[in-house]
């Protein structure tokens, strides 16, 4: 292709705190409108902000996890603009001295590794929420003053897939720190994208469009794919890209222009006079650093090293911290050097059960204790039950909370591998399926599988299919 896309992402993460950033109101989601407000977050005349110290700690923690240099001296600034969801008509944010800057995030995309630069990490307060009803607009200020961390990447992603991988890695890393929920559907993670195109080989950046209003990771990917295509088509048809803000319309799969740069606002940033600058001592920064747990990529590397996992398997298992810890327990408990059997169960049947049952696909939500899973895998590995039967046992385990042994016993599922008892069944099947037997003898190997299937059916799936196949081959030779 003649053009390449250049993408930078601005991600807003709602920090997990009990109270808002500058007052004591609760941050709980989904409460009755305007029930979690006070004069401070409503911006009443005369009120003053007081910084919630936990917010600053969370911000430092995320900055450090993203390998940013953390500023010892940080301050807040006012970003001035009028909007009804903004109670003071200015937002307390950070301008020239953000909490963190110049970090990076490593991502895996199409099997390759890639490093995406982080320009800055800064704190700000959230605005309220506008609700439009017929010809009136209502404002819910419960969200006003909820702490947000804005993470701005460098324009170093070149495809929607890379952007998606960046978001996934970012969400995963932040979730490990337990300082944010990162739920895009609930709005606790929001993402805006700056997109431009340039002829391949060109170093200068093209004119960018800012794409907003994407409500899921898939939405980001789709919106970027659409926007890149739109820009390329526009340029190829002799058009010119203008600097503008565009909104993603998920329903129609299109972006449309909201405002052009000519209408852009001058935010008149200046230092927030109501909050003196904050000095983070190196000692405090070091203390916060000590609380950072092993992060997903470190964990994946260790899984590969210690448990012999493939990079692909490790990558899947570390996405969610609780699941990674669960997986490690399972691997540790599983006897022997080769962990592949239990890993296959984790990323196979367990993950698909998790995806089917819980939207988030969390393994731990299934409620299967590691030793119970090991027991199940043991039955399959010992060929006492087939793989297929094993999956059905797993479903049963999740539903009933019984152990695999109990379920196998209750449902009488132990595989029949004893040739003596199987031979009787095989004789009967051969007699009843003369045509298939003939076909097999004439060289149609598929007919053998049909006969195996008939034996399996007759034994209610309990026959060991390998043994059945061997016996049939012998009989029909």
């Amino acid at each position: 292709m003649k053009y390449e896309a250049v993408i930078g992402l601005e991600v807003h993460v709602q920090l997990k705190t009990n109270t808002k950033i500058f007052c004591g109101c609760s941050t709980e989601f989904g409460r009755e409108p305007n029930s979690q407000v006070c004069p401070v977050c409503l911006g009443f005349p005369g009120v003053l902000p007081v910084l919630n110290k936990t917010v600053l700690e969370h911000a430092v923690k995320i900055s450090l996890a993203l390998d940013c240099s953390v500023q010892e001296y940080t301050k807040f600034d006012r970003k001035n603009y009028f909007y009804p969801d903004l109670p003071k008509d200015f937002q307390i944010s950070q301008y020239d001295l953000p909490v963190g800057r110049d970090g990076f995030l490593d991502i895996t995309v199409e099997g390759g590794e890639k490093r995406v630069g982080i320009l800055r990490v800064h704190l700000e307060e959230d605005a309220g929420k506008l609700i439009h009803k017929d010809d009136i607009s209502l404002v819910d200020f419960n969200r006003a003053g909820v702490p947000l961390l804005e993470i701005v990447s460098r324009p170093e992603m070149y495809s929607p897939e890379e952007a998606h991988a960046y978001l996934t890695a970012l969400k995963s890393a932040i979730e490990y720190l337990d300082v944010a929920d990162c739920d895009m559907e609930k709005g606790s993670l929001r993402c805006d994208a700056n997109v431009s195109i340039r002829p391949r080989g060109e170093r200068e950046l093209g004119t960018k469009a800012e794409v907003k209003n994407m409500n899921s990771f898939k939405g980001v990917k789709d919106a970027l794919a659409y926007e890149i295509k739109r820009q390329i088509e526009s340029v190829e048809n002799g058009g010119k890209i203008i600097q503008e803000t565009r909104l993603w319309d998920a329903k129609n799969g299109k972006t449309f222009s909201m405002r052009s740069k000519e209408e852009a606002k001058d935010y008149r940033y200046f230092p927030e006079p109501d909050l003196p600058p904050f000095v983070m001592t190196l000692e405090n920064i070091r203390k916060i650093k000590e609380t950072i747990p092993e992060l997903p990529r470190e964990k994946a590397a260790r899984f590969i090293r210690e448990y012999g996992l493939s990079a692909y398997d490790a990558g899947i298992l570390v996405v969610n911290k609780k699941d990674a810890e669960y997986a490690e327990e399972c691997m540790r408990a599983y006897p022997g050097e080769n962990k592949k059997p239990v890993v296959n169960w984790l990323i196979g049947p367990l993950l698909s059960e998790a995806n089917n049952r819980t939207g988030g696909g969390e393994l731990t939500a299934l409620g299967i204790l590691p030793e119970r899973l090991i027991e199940l895998v043991g039955f399959v590995q010992a060929e006492q039950i087939s793989n297929l039967t094993g999956k059905s046992v797993l479903t049963d385990m999740i539903d009933t909370r019984e152990s695999a042994a109990d379920i196998i016993k209750r449902r009488n599922l132990i595989q029949i591998s004893d040739t003596g008892s199987l031979e009787t069944h095989i004789e009967e099947i051969i007699k009843a399926n003369v045509q298939s037997v003939e076909s097999y003898k004439q060289g149609k190997t598929g007919a053998l599988m049909f006969l195996v299937g008939q034996v399996m059916k007759k034994t209610q799936g309990k026959a060991n299919p390998k043994v059945v196949q061997e016996l049939l081959k012998k009989k029909l030779a």
Partner: protein, 483 residues
């Protein structure tokens, strides 16, 4: 007995001795207001509070025993109109008390239910910029009382208040105190919580007392001072008992007289009166010497950049969405931007609009470095001037204002001239240091002249000691206007 004429500490003595009661004090105050306030107009007259009855909670055990305090209209009082004398806040009743109000209530003060007049949002030096009309100087009602705390100062001077709270961003307590012949203190920035003070310029604003004498000033400061976790700019420095500083002794006190404050622009009568006061302090044992504050001439321009920049942002919230005035219009035909524009166009007075425009300009892209950033740097130089001076001076003495009170309407059309009446008071706000204005004499035509004393940060005790010694050695604070 004319109780309204007395100071708070005198009233407390009388109550303590069983010679008067709170009811008598309120009766006398109400009587006095009824007799004189139609001339002075120190109080805000709006429909909501006009008929408000005074019903103090009497707490015999408390420090202030229910004695009322008059509050400037920009300090939030729960359930009582607080409108900054602006149409845009008409009908606004705060759902909470400012920290100073809470402290006063805890000390047993009654909050006088009618607020004191002021320049709209404290923008002004004459109390002419009030939506409710101007306040007049009790010494001559053809003259302004100064501003922006002109209502508080005039009420105290006219004996319509026992004492009062004002706010000072560039001289708004000290200048009206000087014009009205009362005592006005601007404490160190961070000494008194700003929580609940409707902000004009956050980095300069400070609440302070306006009183009939220095002892009341110390007493009221005792109550309102102190660290407040709700105000991150308040400072956690111990509050001494300021009445302990009321010692009649300035022997050996090192007093700096800045030469830059006695040059052109100063009224000859003010100059002579202040020079007499300096002589008096020398006679009392003070060691006076000429000093220099070289960056003084930049104070007014620096102030009008920083103060208006902060104000333009602080006043953005008055947009008609949540509270206060909203322009009445055909909803269906009006866009959001129009609603904002009309509300603010109709709700703000001329001076408020002027300052919002100035501040917006100073912060605009392309001008920020040349104006706001430069102003911050010069502010540091002004602060350094004072740091240097206080290395070998205990305090600095200046006139409070270059002129005595001027006539109503004399400067209203000339904002530059109006701004210059804060020439001597602005530097203390920029430097964050405390300053007090006390009466030091009268002009031939009978208008009061104020003496300003400045000290280093958190050295209010030095101010009280010098002010008390001078006051107790002179008759000025005992004189009353004829109304």
């Amino acid at each position: 007995m004319e109780l309204a004429k007395l100071t708070c500490h005198e009233l407390l003595d009388l109550i303590g001795a069983g010679k008067t009661s709170l009811e008598d004090i309120f009766d006398d105050l109400r009587k006095r207001i009824g007799q004189t306030d139609h001339k002075v107009r120190a109080y805000v007259r709006n429909s909501q509070t006009e008929n408000a009855d005074v019903c103090p909670e009497i707490c015999a055990q408390s420090i202030l025993k229910g004695i009322p305090v008059t509050i400037k209209d920009n300090i939030c009082t729960e359930g009582l109109n607080t409108e900054c004398c602006s149409r845009i806040l008409s009908g606004f009743r705060p759902p909470y008390d400012a920290t100073v109000i809470r402290k006063l209530k805890e000390a047993g003060a009654s909050i006088f239910p009618v607020k004191a007049n002021m320049d709209e949002f404290a923008f002004g030096s004459s109390t002419e910029n009030s939506y409710f009309g101007p306040t007049r100087n009790p010494w001559d009602v053809k003259y302004v009382p100064g501003g922006s705390s002109g209502g508080s100062a005039a009420a105290v001077a006219a004996d319509e208040a026992v004492w009062a709270l004002g706010s000072d961003t560039g001289g708004s307590i000290r200048q009206p105190a000087a014009f009205c012949g009362v005592v006005g203190l601007k404490p160190t920035y961070g000494r008194v919580s700003r929580y609940g003070l409707i902000a004009f310029a956050s980095s300069l604003d400070q609440i302070g007392p306006l009183t009939k004498d220095v002892r009341d000033s110390a007493l009221l400061t005792n109550i309102i001072a102190g660290y407040d976790p709700r105000d991150s700019t308040s400072v956690d420095v111990e509050v001494p008992d300021y009445t302990g500083a009321l010692v009649k002794d300035v022997k050996g006190l090192r007093v700096g007289i800045p030469k830059e404050y006695f040059v052109e622009g100063i009224d000859p009568e003010v100059k002579r009166t202040v020079e007499d006061a300096i002589q008096k302090l020398k006679d009392l044992g003070g060691i006076c010497k000429e000093i220099s504050l070289p960056h003084t001439r930049y104070a007014v321009p620096v102030y009008y950049i920083i103060a208006t920049a902060e104000a333009s942002s602080n006043l953005a919230r008055f947009d008609g969405v949540q509270y206060g005035y909203r322009s009445l219009q055909d909803k269906a035909k009006t866009s959001l931007i129009e609603m904002y524009a009309r509300t603010r166009g109709e709700g703000f007075g001329q001076e408020a609009k002027r300052r919002i425009l100035l501040g917006t300009f100073a912060l605009s892209h392309g001008y920020y470095d040349a104006y706001y950033l430069r102003a911050l740097k010069v502010r540091t130089l002004i602060k350094r001037d004072f740091d240097d001076v206080f290395k070998d001076c205990d305090c600095v003495i200046t006139p409070t204002s270059p002129t005595p009170a001027f006539k109503i309407n004399e400067r209203i059309e000339d904002p530059l001239k109006m701004y210059l009446s804060d020439l001597y008071t602005i530097s203390a706000n920029l430097a964050g240091i405390p300053g007090i204005s006390i009466p030091c004499g009268f002009t031939k035509s009978g208008l009061p002249v104020g003496l300003q004393i400045l000290a280093g940060s958190f050295r209010e005790e030095t101010l009280f000691r010098a002010a008390y010694t001078y006051e107790q050695s002179t008759p000025w604070h005992l004189q009353k206007p004829e109304l």
